[in-house]
């Protein structure tokens, strides 16, 4: 019953530091690397990775403003028009573009893999990277598409009816990853009738986890 904190602030910081080292190791340095965070929390994580990379790699620090952006995938999702309604977020591509670069996509929670599929689709409209890699803070399993992460902060075995929520200081006032048991209202404001739909949308449900739950009513029905 209730919620369980599985990663605390220090765990998140350590995981990001390790991911930063892994990214540099896999790429043999910082050459041609570009980080694209998937809004909202993936974008925050990308900014944090950027700060870690600047500390440990002089080449990254040299032109880091050319290397970090955000990639909104809303328009490329496969569940648009199913009565959910999603506000798009900002896409900012570094001025040097992504052609021929090694793009590292950064997201918070990897679950069904549908967000990442949408991100790969979105990249096509922007350019042709030499390679695309995926870094996530939490991999909770239950993939529905043949997608895997190259860099994972924490593998977290979960039941599919649990929620995994990442909270970050920048967006939520605290740093933690929590598992919420089924039946626990995490976003009570979501259920208030009469609240404007988009305000509700923006406040709640920005993680991979809640998005995925909204997209899979048939599975929830089956489990219940």
């Amino acid at each position: 019953m209730g919620t369980r904190t599985v990663l605390q602030q220090s765990d998140i910081t350590r995981a990001l530091t390790r991911i930063a080292h892994e990214i540099l190791e896999a790429n043999h340095g910082a050459s041609d690397l570009v980080l694209l965070g998937i809004p909202t929390r993936g974008a925050v994580l990308a900014e944090r990775l950027d700060r870690v990379l600047a500390d440990i790699e002089p080449e990254w620090a040299h032109d880091r403003d050319q290397r970090v952006g955000t990639l909104d995938v809303t328009m490329h999702r496969d569940d648009l028009g199913h009565g959910i309604g999603r506000a798009p977020h900002r896409t900012t591509i570094p001025t040097s573009g992504i052609d021929g670069k090694v793009v590292v996509l950064v997201d918070d929670v990897l679950y069904s893999g549908r967000t990442v599929r949408a991100a790969l689709d979105a990249l096509q409209g922007i350019g042709r990277p030499r390679a695309v890699r995926l870094a996530v803070l939490v991999d909770r399993g239950h993939r529905e598409l043949p997608i895997r992460a190259d860099h994972v902060g924490k593998n977290l075995p979960t039941a599919s009816d649990e929620r995994v929520t990442l909270r970050l200081t920048e967006t939520d006032g605290t740093d933690e990853v929590v598992i919420v048991q089924p039946g626990t209202p995490t976003h009570p404001e979501r259920h208030q009738p009469g609240a404007p739909a988009h305000a509700d949308q923006q406040q709640a449900g920005a993680t991979e986890q809640t998005r995925s739950e909204q997209t899979r009513p048939e599975q929830q029905g089956g489990a219940a």
Partner: protein, 320 residues
Amino acid sequence: MKHLLSTADLSRAEAVHVLDVAEEMAEVNTREVRKLPALRGKTVVNLFFEDSTRTRISFEAAAKRLSADVINFAAKGSSVSKGESLKDTVQTLGAMGIDGIVMRHHASGAPRVLAEADWIDVPVVNAGDGTHEHPTQALLDAFTMRRRLHGGASRGKGLDGVRVTIVGDVLHSRVARSNAWLLRTLGAEVTFAAPPTLLPAVDRPFGAAVHHDLDAALAEDPDVVMLLRIQQERMNDAFFPNPREYTRHFGLTAARAAALSERTLIMHPGPMNRGLEIAGVAADDPRSTVVEQVANGVSVRMAVLYLALTGEHEPKESVA
């Protein structure tokens, strides 16, 4: 937002939200590949009972950039000219399977009739109805002002304290009405400058202040001067003695444009009658946003179509 019929229906939060989504669409329009798959597999009908080139093309470009299929329906030369009713026309289209209607009609209120009747259950976007409203024009005007004033930092902002003077045929202008309501919702102050014959015969039309003297209105140093087109097709009465007299009293002449402040925006919804309501020099001035308005129109209409057709309304499944 299911339908977009009137800017009076929009709350401030809703209007700002549409403009914010339009910002994201504008970003896409700067890319090499200006295409999003958001409305793939959906069919949008441009149902135009009144001549229009720029609005129809703008809606068509917007729908196509979102990957929707577009059917253009012009009443001229269609079954409508044989006397088919709106209900039958729409039900015929509905039977073919469509997902949204963009409608322009010469009768004020026609889009609302369509939205509220049970002939067809799809989102309706008003692309201009009679002398009533033209909501996407008002949204693109507000979007253009917001971008000029705030640049890249315009997301989430309204138009608080912005002073807008709208000049010309307010009486027949759906652009003026939609703008007056939307701009006031966003916090701007609206003033009309027009001859009494071209203003509604009320004290403060649509909540706006009124000037019968353009020079007095411009002396108040507005942030935006918006010229309205003199619509010859609606001039079936003697509203002013002749075009030259109109230009002398209410046209943005080269001299009036030169006297405007450096930061005052010059706007016109198009198509312009150069030399009548706006001098060529003023239209081509760096302060003029006429070309930007057209570009922004596509972004704003993409946002409206996206929001209406992907539905921030009636969730089919309840969220667990």
